[in-house]
Amino acid sequence: MIVQPVLVVAAALFSLGIYGILVRRNAVMVLLSIELILNAVNINFIMFDTMLADTMMQGQIFTIFIITIAAAEVGIGLAIVLMLFRNRQTANINEFDLMKW
């Protein structure tokens, strides 16, 4: 079974997600980067589940929960971004600097 390449892909997705969060300036793109990390976690769980031949399928069940929670979170996130956009006409997180220190 190919284990290592899959885990490397997951780790790469994770790093890409972190990079995206740090570099992207649009709030929606930051949300997308977070989704990348969650998908990296999903790949990890599925791979480990298969690798360990878990009879209780715990990894796959965990993945289903993560997908559900991620959907809920994106819903909330988009609502907040929409609210911001209405009040400010921008979704650039560099401009959210009303409060510092």
């Binding site: 977070i34 990390i37 969650l38 360990l52 965990f62 929960f65 909330i76 009303l98 409060m99 220190w101």
Partner: protein
């Protein structure tokens, strides 16, 4: 299983009363469980447990939420926003906190953490038209979701290493296969610590806290700084001592560094603040440093019982005095109509009662005997010094220096409200101290005093933490 599943209907005044009553009523099954307690009860293949540790924490969470509701009643009614959703979201968050304190497997604890924090994203952006509230909400949301995904990545590595999800099975597996110092385990514990670090706002991960606290409605801020934080601490304590107990040496050092940095930075920045909410935000950051210090020392020595006792005691006392501090800020900023506490000169003369309350809470936060905060600090220092390790002693020294620094800004508020000149002595505005707020004040002050004067009531917590660790 005591789950407070109350769905408030959308009828204006009944909602608040119903939520208050429901929260209080959900204490009753807890009391029954406590009275008829014999041994820990397990459900769902050991993934959910009811032991004394979880019963105490559930009681704490329910009381905090009850006090938050009392704080919110007048606040929410004075706004033109919806009421039903507000109570519903807070109750969902409470449910999450209750799940966290009982869960003993990775999936359940993750869902608990998410359930506790997701409604808070919405509540912190409650004031839809207010740009500060929007900004606080987006900062909180982005970092909150990032932290959840870090925790998840840590969990997935742990699952890959052991193939188990239930805590007891994981730690048995790690012990029997001598995987205690595996690098994967270390990486996973670092990811989990940094993920939960966002929730409890310790130093490298604290940047969202002051902004969100300032933007959110005040009762929500009080809830965030107390219950939300406590949920994070409970998750951290449970995960570190039940799952990562074999690698205590390594996470102990990480936590010790975080703790020292948190205490110092939180305090130094708090000295500069003129907005009382931001001041309390930084003060609660530095208090978080005090709460994790005994845990760090416990990780290094392996004497978890003592560390957990000190952390949980501090957490309980901190919860009540911090809620009280938010109450007094709420009162004065409404009265003075200013977000800068230097403008509050002499406000205590308009209402000596509120002035005394404020002084009590702020002195308690500073740790002056005979108030509760003193006993909390005493327990933490005792636990740190009794380790005899260099890490414990140096943390105690950092803590002692910080306790002195903290006194400066806590005492400054008391000085301003009592001794400074009245700003406009002709002011005709009456001081509003509504009845629900009086109840909050009375309850929090009661706990603050009792825990300081009769610290004996906490001694049974020692027995509780031994049960927690013994199974």
């Amino acid at each position: 299983m005591i789950l407070d599943l109350i769905l408030p209907r959308k009828s204006k005044y009944y909602v608040a009363a119903f939520a208050l009553f429901g929260t209080l009523a959900s204490l009753a099954p807890l009391v029954i469980q406590w009275a008829s307690y014999t041994s820990p009860l397990y459900a769902f293949e050991n993934s959910y447990v009811v032991d004394k540790f979880s019963i105490i924490l559930k009681g704490l969470f329910i009381l905090i939420t009850y006090l938050t509701f009392l704080l919110s009643i007048n606040f929410i009614e004075s706004d033109k926003y919806y009421q039903g959703e507000y109570y519903y979201l807070l109750l969902s968050s409470l449910l999450g906190a209750l799940v966290v304190s009982s869960s003993r497997d990775l999936l359940t604890i993750f869902i608990g953490i998410e359930l506790a924090s997701t409604p808070m994203f919405l509540l912190s952006g409650w004031k839809k038209g207010d740009r500060k509230s929007n900004e606080g909400a987006i900062k909180f949301f982005l970092l909150g979701v990032l932290s959840a995904s870090l925790i998840l990545y840590g969990f997935s590595l742990l699952y890959g290493l052991t193939g188990k999800l239930v805590f007891s099975e994981i730690s048995t597996y790690l012990l029997s296969n001598a995987l205690g110092d595996s690098p994967v385990l270390l990486l996973s514990s670092i990811l989990v610590i940094s993920g939960i670090g966002f929730k409890i706002s310790v130093v490298p991960f604290h940047s969202w806290a002051p902004d969100t606290y300032e933007g959110a409605p005040l009762p929500v801020t009080a809830y965030l700084s107390v219950s939300s934080k406590a949920t994070g601490f409970v998750a951290l304590i449970v995960l570190l001592t039940k799952v990562f107990e074999t690698s205590g040496q390594s996470w102990g050092v990480i936590l010790a560094i975080i703790s020292g940095a948190t205490m110092t930075l939180g305090n130094l920045v708090a000295l500069q603040q003129s907005n009382p909410v931001r001041l309390l935000a930084y003060s609660s950051i530095s208090q978080a440093g005090f709460i994790i210090a005994p845990l760090a020392a416990a990780g290094i020595t392996g004497n978890y019982q003592d560390g957990i006792f000190a952390s949980v005691t501090y957490l309980i006392i901190y919860a009540f005095m911090n809620l009280g501090a938010f109450l007094s800020i709420h009162l004065f900023s409404n009265f003075a109509g200013s977000d800068n506490f230097y403008d509050w000169g002499g406000v205590a003369k308009h209402s000596p009662l509120a002035g005394v309350l404020t002084t009590v809470f702020f002195f308690s936060l500073a740790g002056i005997p005979p108030l509760g905060g003193w006993f909390a600090k005493f327990v933490v220092f005792r636990s740190l010094l009794s380790t005899g390790e260099i890490v414990g002693i140096s943390l105690a020294i950092i803590g002692a220096v910080n306790a002195v620094i903290a006194l400066v800004y806590y005492a400054r508020i008391s000085k301003v409200i009592w001794m400074d000149e009245l700003k406009n002595p002709e002011q005709e505005k009456t001081f509003e101290f509504q009845n629900p707020l009086k109840v909050v004040g009375a309850l929090t002050v009661l706990v603050t005093f009792i825990s300081g004067v009769f610290p004996g009531i906490f001694s049974y917590l020692g027995e509780v933490s031994s049960i927690f660790f013994g199974n």
